[in-house]
Symmetry: C2
Subunit: 136 residues, 2 copies
């Protein structure tokens, strides 16, 4: 039998990671979460953050946003929306495009990909990085 439901004990730390993701408008990196929760749990380890993020991913409670900048980012907002991602610093901003369902379906047929809950990201340059051209 195949269940995602691999019964797990409670974990206050995991709960707080999810809660933090759900209540922030940022799209935090693992590091950000770690720094943030270290105040609450001084013994927290970065490995624990990564491990729990992966568990939450398995449970489909969060998604990853992969940026051109080093760190992955995480999002607990599962509602249908899209992202604009800065290709220099990795900053992520939520957007809402109205997706034409039928053309999405045509895309699926053409490409053979399943785009059931497609993650769409548009990469550009955020204001800060644009002004900061000096050292590019």
């Amino acid at each position: 039998m195949k269940t995602v439901n691999m019964k797990r004990n409670h974990s206050i730390k995991r709960d707080r990671i999810l809660e933090l993701l759900q209540t922030t408008l940022e799209h935090p990196t693992a590091d950000w979460i770690y720094e943030r929760l270290k105040k609450e749990f001084p013994d927290l380890s970065l490995g624990t953050v990564y491990r729990n993020l992966r568990i939450l991913l398995d449970e489909k409670k969060i998604i990853t946003i992969r940026s051109a900048a080093g760190h992955d980012r995480f999002d607990a907002d599962l509602s249908s929306h899209q992202h604009v991602v800065c290709e220099k610093c990795g900053k992520v901003v939520d957007i809402l495009m109205n997706l034409d369902k039928s053309s999405l379906h045509r895309l699926e047929e053409k490409t053979g990909f399943s785009l059931a809950s497609p993650r769409i990201s548009i990469s550009g340059l955020c204001r800060d990085c644009r002004l900061d051209k000096s050292e590019s």
Copy 2:
């Protein structure tokens, strides 16, 4: 003075890397390019592939496609098009959506991002990975 034009000597290997990218429909990884060109240049080193890819990126002759799967992929097709990316294996397929220019502009104003030549990628699951559910 600020020029992208940092005069460079010729490099047969760099030329071949670009040519390979321009003539393939794949969106190769650095490894793929390395394996491919090693037949031509038995002394080729993977570092050389990466270094030249970055030079070509600086010169804006190619772009990177970052996939959820490990390796980055590269594309020398600079014409306006979009990508569907498999979130499991990283495979990339070109697509063409007609982008509403004015709504893109509205997005720029709302987000503060510059989307001059936006890279749009839609991630889903390719046919192979979909059928291959067994080991997920």
